[in-house]
Symmetry: C2
Subunit: 159 residues, 2 copies
C-alpha cells in the first residue's frame, strides 16, 4: 500500500460520510436584511452529546506545506467539530474511515467551512496559506473527548 495520498477538491457529496461542507452555494434558504443577505440556514449537523454544550473557540495553527507528512489522526467521540477559516484560503482536510484505513485528503476552495460529524477520524488542522486562524465550534464539557491514533509509518499528502 502506497503511503502517498492524493488531494481531491472538497465537495459536499464526497465529504458526506465524514461531515458537512458549509458554503454559500446553490439557492439560499432565505433572503434577509432587506434582500441584501442570503442565508444558507443551519447547514451543520451539530452534536454535543450528553452533558455537553456548544462553544466557539479560536484556533491559530502553524501553516504547513506540501508534501505534508503526518502520522497522527484523532477523533472526538462526544461531539462534532466545525472548522471555519478566518481567511479566504484553502486548507487541507484529512479524514479516515478508521485506524486500519488509508486516510483521504481534501482541499477546500477558500470559501468552504467544514463540520466533522461526531466520531469522525480526522487529521489535525492543516492550513497551507493565509492567517492560520480558525473559528471552531465544538463541544464544551467535562470529558476528554479525544482519541488519538498514531500510524506505524507516516502518510504523505502530495500535490
Amino acid at each position: 500500500m502506497s503511503r502517498r495520498i492524493p488531494i481531491s477538491p472538497l465537495s459536499a457529496q464526497s465529504f458526506a460520510p465524514y461531515g458537512d461542507v458549509l458554503e454559500a452555494e446553490g439557492a439560499p434558504d432565505k433572503l434577509i436584511n432587506d434582500g441584501k443577505c442570503r442565508r444558507f440556514h443551519d447547514r451543520a449537523d451539530l452534536d454535543f452529546g450528553d452533558g455537553g454544550r456548544a462553544g466557539v473557540s479560536i484556533f491559530h495553527a502553524e501553516l504547513r506545506a506540501l508534501p505534508y507528512e503526518f502520522d497522527l489522526i484523532e477523533r472526538h467521540p462526544d461531539g462534532s467539530q466545525a472548522f471555519v477559516a478566518m481567511s479566504a484560503d484553502p486548507f487541507l482536510v484529512i479524514v479516515s474511515d478508521g485506524p486500519e484505513a488509508q486516510p483521504k485528503a481534501f482541499l477546500t476552495n477558500g470559501k468552504q467551512a467544514i463540520n466533522f460529524h461526531r466520531g469522525t477520524w480526522h487529521g489535525v488542522l492543516t492550513p497551507l496559506s493565509g492567517s492560520g486562524i480558525f473559528a471552531v465550534v465544538d463541544r464544551i464539557g467535562d470529558t476528554a473527548n479525544l482519541q488519538e491514533h498514531r500510524f506505524d509509518a507516516p502518510w504523505v499528502v502530495v500535490a
Copy 2:
C-alpha cells in the same frame, strides 16, 4: 444630535457591553496538535434560550461602502449571534443601547469575529470588502427571534 457616527477600532473592552470579540490575542488557553496549534478556548457567551439549539449557517452579504447610511437595527430576544468572516477583511459592527440611543460603529481588524449577546440591538451584517461570506452561529428554534426598529431618520457611518 448629529446623525453622523464615527468608527472606532473593535476591542474586547469597548465591545464588552454588547458581546464578545473572538480573536487569537494574548496567551492561548492550550497548545494542541503537538504544539502546532494555539487554542483560545470557549470565547463566546453563547445563549440559545429555552427550546433553542445551536446552529451554523452561512450568510453571504452584499458589500457596503462608506459613508454607510442605515435606518434599521434589530435584535434577537431569544439567542446570541456570532459572526465569523470567512475572509480576512474588516467588517463594520454597529450596535446600540436601544432605539432611543445613538448607535455606535466598530471596525474589526480582519482577524476578529464577534458574538452579540442575546438581546443586543445591532445593525445588519456589513462587510466593506472581501468575500462577504460569514459563518453565523445562532439559535435554531421555533420562535421568530427577531425584533426590528426603524429610526425616523437615517444614521450615517463615516470614515
